[in-house]
């Protein structure tokens, strides 16, 4: 694990236009970035594209960044999350391939299913012991984002900063997402009494 001071030196250099220093930062955070993007989009190619867009945006905005290593991680992941969301929305709004058919002067657009996991993604999912992945896939992107940032070791405040939401919202999303995952991963024993107000029944 690279020390924060090293990361902060890279940040300082990158802010002044040092491309090599910025690429060190990219190297340092690209695993996390891809993970975040993949969890949002759940397609490797799209996630890579989103990450590339995000890194370029980050480089362009670099001189405006102010903060330490922790702040940078949140800032960068926020860019990644936003790029992923944009891409996800774009891909789900429009057909993936252009299947426009013109007949009698009218244009028909054939519905094309939104991109799901590629065969490679499916294979990897199975390999990673798919139950968790499967459970995560059933979460909404908002809930998933909170969980996966927690998974990456982000504190609540950092998650709030990254996603642009209140800490209270982080807490509630976190608990609902966990309850949902808990139910998926380990079905509640039938004889145990249910704790009162819980979102897990809705999942």
């Amino acid at each position: 694990m690279t020390k924060d001071t090293t990361v902060e030196q890279w940040i300082a250099a990158a802010r002044k236009g040092d491309g090599d220093a910025f690429n060190r930062l990219v190297e340092h955070y690209q695993g996390l970035a891809f993970h975040v993007a993949w969890q949002q989009i759940r397609n490797s190619d799209e996630a890579m594209d989103a990450c590339q867009e995000a890194m370029l945006s980050a480089w362009r905005a670099m001189p405006r960044f102010e903060g330490n290593a922790t702040g940078f991680r949140s800032w960068l992941m926020r860019i990644v999350v936003n790029a992923s969301r944009d891409r996800w929305r774009y891909e789900h709004r429009r057909p993936r391939a252009s299947l426009e058919v013109e007949r009698d002067g009218e244009t028909y657009v054939l519905p094309v299913p939104a991109p799901g996991p590629s065969p490679q993604d499916v294979a990897e999912q199975a390999e990673l012991g798919g139950r968790l992945e499967e459970a995560l896939a059933t979460l909404s992107p908002d809930h998933r984002a909170v969980v996966l940032l927690d998974q990456a070791g982000f504190a609540y405040a950092e998650i709030a900063q990254t996603l642009g939401i209140e800490v209270g919202t982080v807490k509630s999303r976190m608990s609902r997402a966990r309850a949902h995952l808990r139910q998926r991963l380990r079905p509640v024993p039938a004889m145990e009494a249910e704790p009162a107000p819980s979102a897990e029944r809705s999942g």
Binding site: M48, M62, S175, R182, P195
Partner: protein, 328 residues
């Protein structure tokens, strides 16, 4: 009677982010409620599974590092990049921002072609206009010039009577000087003296502005030529600059004397009682006759001249844009 803990409380409890008061209450409840304890354990297990899960690895061979080209072409607000490190040039904020414009990504050749085309279109349109005005029965500027000459003659005919009175050359000269200073005004005056249809007026003004445009084109070309002498293409620009500069030089010489003459004869007509002015008017007459021909010439192709000026301006603008924009 204790209520069961909410999932929010349980989750917050795991992360130790529950407020102190709630935490105490939760601890008290957990001590007495097996169901909530089991729930908390299940949740803890889930979180542990989640946190122990590896991050999804990058696809094999994937690398998100930015290529050098992208790093170079990106604006940086700070120019403080250490030069000595040698891995990149000092950033050029304005240039880089401009370079991100889609137009600037086009190859230089297509820009040059587009500029030339634009210039050619303007030129052709102008020439056509000029052709049309030449076809008109009475050339626009000619009557004005003749009329000016006639007026000057009138002035002269009145002049001899006053001639012996005083050879006030200095005053006449200063009048001529001020005439040079206020060309535009005088062009207008000349038009009103001529009292020709609006076209005459227009022709004068147009030839005046054509000359002005050419002057500007010349100076612009000079600038662009001076700005970038190292480029092979700039030789072309330079020669063009010379051309327009020559034209710019020629035109003002042609046009202003006619205005001057017209103006001065105008003065002669108005201030007929003033001896000095009469002399002035009389003196000017030969000039007016001499300049009538150039005035007609510069008046006739006025629109053509304007078109040429506009065309050159467009082309030179593009050339300047090409040479002055950042490279690489």
């Amino acid at each position: 009677m204790n209520e069961h803990l909410s999932i929010d409380d349980l989750s917050a409890l795991l992360d130790d982010v529950l407020p102190a008061a709630s935490r105490e209450r939760a601890s008290a409840h957990l001590a007495s409620c097996a169901a909530c304890r089991a729930e908390l354990e299940a949740l803890r297990e889930t979180v542990e599974i989640l946190r122990a899960a590896p991050l999804r690895p990058l696809p094999a061979g994937a690398d998100l590092r930015l290529p050098a080209a992208l790093l170079e072409a990106t604006p940086q607000t700070s120019r403080l990049a250490p030069e000595g490190e040698g891995h990149r040039e000092a950033p050029d904020p304005i240039g880089a921002r401009r370079a991100s414009h889609v137009l600037l990504r086009l190859p230089r050749f297509s820009l040059l072609a587009a500029g030339t085309l634009a210039a050619a279109v303007v030129l052709a349109a102008g020439l056509r206009l000029g052709q049309r005005s030449m076809d008109a029965p009475i050339p626009a500027a000619q009557p004005a010039a003749i009329y000016v000459a006639a007026e000057s003659e009138d002035a002269q005919s009145l002049a001899p009577a006053a001639a012996p009175a005083a050879p006030e050359q200095p005053m006449a000269r200063s009048a001529a000087e001020s005439a040079e200073e206020h060309e535009a005004e005088y062009a207008e005056s000349a038009g009103s003296v001529a009292e020709e249809p609006a076209t005459a007026d227009d022709a004068e003004v147009v030839s005046g502005s054509a000359a002005y445009a050419l002057t500007e084109a010349g100076s612009m070309a000079d600038e662009s030529a001076a700005g970038d002498s190292e480029e092979a293409e700039s030789a072309e620009a330079g020669s063009m600059a010379d051309e327009s500069a020559a034209e710019a030089d020629a035109s003002p010489v042609e046009a202003p004397p006619a205005f001057e003459a017209a103006m001065e004869s105008d003065a002669a007509e108005d201030d007929i009682g003033d001896v000095a002015d009469h002399r002035d008017g009389g003196r000017v007459e030969p000039d007016a006759m001499l300049d009538a021909e150039p005035a007609v010439k510069s008046g006739l192709p006025a629109s053509a001249g304007l078109a040429l000026a506009l065309g050159s301006l467009t082309l030179l603008g593009f050339l300047a844009f090409l040479f002055l924009r950042p490279r690489g």
